[in-house]
Symmetry: C3
Subunit: 266 residues, 3 copies
C-alpha cells in the first residue's frame, strides 16, 4: 500500500545508493536538472553523443529522455539509449515535452515509445493526451473532461505501453493500468520556473533507479517535488528565490516534512 513510508524509504535509498541517472535532455534545463539530482542525493550525467551514449547507459541506473529541444542527432542518441536501457534492464523515463504542439514532437515522442520499453511517461495533460492516436482519443477520452479525462488517457497509454504514466498539474495523477494515485502537493509558483516539469522527470528517474515499482517511484518523485515547492514558497519573494529554496529543500527534505505534508488520494 502506497504511503509516506514508501516515499521516505525511496528517498533514503537514493541518498544511500547515489544512483547514476543518465539524462538526454534539453538545453534550457540541463543545469537545473543536474542540480536537482545532486540536491536530492543522486548522481547526474548528461551525454548525448551517439558515439558514447550506449556506453554511458551501461554505467547508469536509470535513463531520462526529454525532447524539449530535440533535433535529428539527439533523437538518434535517444533511440540508442532506450534500446541500450532495455537490454540492460534499467528504467527509462520519457518526458514528451511539447508533444501536441508540433507534429515533429508528437511523432518523435510516439516513435521513442515504440523504440523500446519505457518505464514511466511523465508530462502535463496535453502532452500525454497527444501521445494517444486520434482513434484512441475519440473512443476513450474525448467525451470526458478535466481530471477524469486525464486518468482515462493515462490508463489507455499505460496499457498500450505497459508503463506507468505520471501527469503533473494542480493535482498530479499517477496511473498504472487500473491503479491510480492522486497527489495534492505543490504550489502555483512552480509553473513560473522554467524546467520544473523536466525536473520532475529527472527526479522520477532517481526514484525509479531505486524502486522497480514504477507507480510508487513516479508518485514518490511528485510528492517530494510538491512538498519542496510548498516549503520553498513560504520563503520565496518571486520565481527566482522560489527556485533557489526549492533546490535547497531537495537537499534538506526528510522524513519529518514528508510525514507532515504528504497529500495523497488513492
Amino acid at each position: 500500500m502506497f504511503s509516506a513510508k514508501t516515499v521516505i524509504r525511496d528517498l533514503e535509498k537514493i541518498r544511500r545508493q547515489v544512483p547514476l541517472v543518465h539524462n538526454i535532455t534539453n538545453f534550457v534545463v540541463m543545469n537545473l536538472t543536474a542540480n536537482a539530482l545532486l540536491s536530492i542525493g543522486a548522481s547526474p550525467v548528461m551525454a548525448h553523443a551517439v558515439e558514447e551514449v550506449e556506453e554511458m547507459v551501461g554505467l547508469a541506473s536509470a535513463v531520462v529522455i526529454n525532447i524539449g529541444t530535440l533535433s535529428r542527432h539527439w533523437v538518434e542518441a535517444m533511440e540508442k539509449a532506450i534500446t541500450a536501457a532495455e537490454k540492460k534492464n534499467i528504467p527509462v523515463i520519457l518526458d514528451p515535452v511539447g508533444a501536441g504542439a508540433t507534429s515533429y514532437r508528437t511523432a518523435t515522442a510516439r516513435r521513442l515509445l515504440e523504440t523500446g520499453r519505457v518505464a514511466i511517461i511523465r508530462g502535463n495533460g496535453s502532452e500525454i493526451r497527444a501521445l494517444l492516436d486520434a482513434g484512441a482519443r475519440t473512443k476513450g477520452v474525448d467525451s470526458l473532461e478535466g481530471p477524469e479525462a486525464a486518468v482515462e488517457t493515462a490508463r489507455l497509454l499505460s496499457e498500450k505501453y505497459g508503463c506507468a504514466v505520471s501527469i503533473s498539474g494542480p493535482v498530479d495523477i499517477i496511473v498504472r493500468s487500473e491503479e491510480t494515485v492522486r497527489i495534492g502537493n505543490g504550489h502555483p509558483l512552480m509553473p513560473r520556473v522554467t524546467g520544473l516539469g523536466c525536473t520532475a522527470s529527472a527526479l522520477t528517474g532517481a526514484f525509479a533507479a531505486v524502486d522497480s515499482n514504477y507507480l510508487e517511484a513516479a508518485a514518490g518523485a511528485m510528492i517530494v517535488m510538491g512538498i519542496c515547492g510548498e516549503l520553498a514558497a513560504e520563503q520565496a519573494r518571486g520565481p527566482a528565490s522560489f527556485e533557489l529554496h526549492f533546490l535547497d529543500w531537495l537537499h534538506n527534505i526528510g522524513e519529518k516534512e514528508i510525514r507532515e505534508r504528504i497529500k495523497i488520494f488513492l
Copy 2:
C-alpha cells in the same frame, strides 16, 4: 506620446494575454531568458529544429533570434523562423550578439536582416555598428563619437530595414527613423551577469507581442529591465544575488515602481 503610462499598459497586457514568445537563442542564456519571460508574465518556448521551427512560429506572438552561440544548422532554423514570422505578420526581434567580433557573426547577422522583416534590432553599440556596411559607416557615423554616433548609426539601420533599433548602454537609446527615446534606468551590476543583454531582447519580444508600436515596445522593455536592475541592486551582495532579485522583481514590478523610477529623455 511615450510615457510611464505606455509601459504600464503594455506590462498589464503581457500579464493578461500571456503571449507565447518563440526564442532561437544561445546555449548560455536559454534558462535565464526563459525564466525572465515567465517572471514578467509571458510564455517562453525554445525550439530550433528545422523540422518544427515554422510550425512553432505558427503558435507564437513574437520571435526572438539571438546569434550568441550560432552554428550552421541553427542559422538555417533562424532563417526559416524569420520567413515564417513575416508570413504570419508577427514581430521578429534580432539580437546580433558578437557582430563585429568575428566575420561569421557579422555576415550572419546581416544575412538574417536580409531574410525577412525584422521589427526590432537590439544590441550594444559595437554590435549595432557592425551591422552597417563600411560605406554607410564612413559616410554616416565615423566622424561622430559616443551617444551621438549611436543615434546616427541606429537611424541609418532603422531606415535601411524599416525597423526600430534598441541600443543598450549606460543610457539606452531607442530609435525609429527620426524618433529617439533615451532611457536612464539601469545599474552597473547588469553587465556583470551573463545574458542580461539577451534577456533584454527576450523581454523586447514580449512587449512587441502586445504592442505593434515597436518604438514603444522596445523602450518599455528597457525601462522595465532598468528599473528591476535598480531595485535588485539595492538588495544584492554580488552578481548572483543581483540576478536572483532581478528575476523576482520582473515578477513583482508594477505601476508604482514604474511611475516612481522611470527615467526617459525624449
Copy 3:
C-alpha cells in the same frame, strides 16, 4: 616562491586587465562558468562554430576546452581552437570531463592533448588517470594509492605534455614536473553543485591569461575557488544558496580573505 602574495597579485591583474577567456565547454555549465568569469572580473566568450573559432581565439587571452557534452562537430572546433591558440601563443586549459567513463571521452581527451600545446590539464583524479595510457599506468602509478598516486600520475602527464596538471579533490594537487603544490581550501558542498569543477577550469583560464607561470596560475585559481567555497558555506542552507553565495564571493573576495584563509602545503 608561491604564496598568498602571488594569488593576490594575479587576482588584481585579472580585475585590471579583464582578459577575454574563450570557452568551448559543455551545455550544462555554460551559464555558470560565464557568470563565474564575470564575477571574478574576467570577460567570457562562448563560441564553438568551426566557421569562427579561430578568429575568436585571435581575440582571446586564454582558451578553455571542456569535453563535458562533446560531439563530433564540437571536437572539430576544439582542435581548431587548440591549434590557433598554439600559433598565437596563448594558454589552453583542458578539462577532460568524464575521461575514463566512456572510451569516446578518453580517446577524445587524449587526441586533444596531441593536437597542440596545452598549458594546464585540470580534472579530478580518475579523469587525469584516464589520460595516461595503460603502459604508463602500470609502470608508474598502479602500485600507489590515494594522493601519492595522484601526484605520480600528474607528474608523468606533466612531463609527457610539458604542462601543469591540476587535480581537484579534498586536497587539490597541482604538479609541474618535479614541483607540487597542495591546497587545503574548499568545502564538502562544492561537489553538490553541478559544474564547479568546470568553473575551476574556467577560472584557471583567467589566471593563466595573466600569469604565464602555469603552476602558479593553476594553484591561484584553486585557492580562490576553495576560499570562496568556504565563505559561501557559512551562509548557505543548501547547494543552491551555496552556489549563489559562491558567485557573489568571487566578486567580493580580496586580499584580506586570501591572506586569512589560504591553506597551501608545498
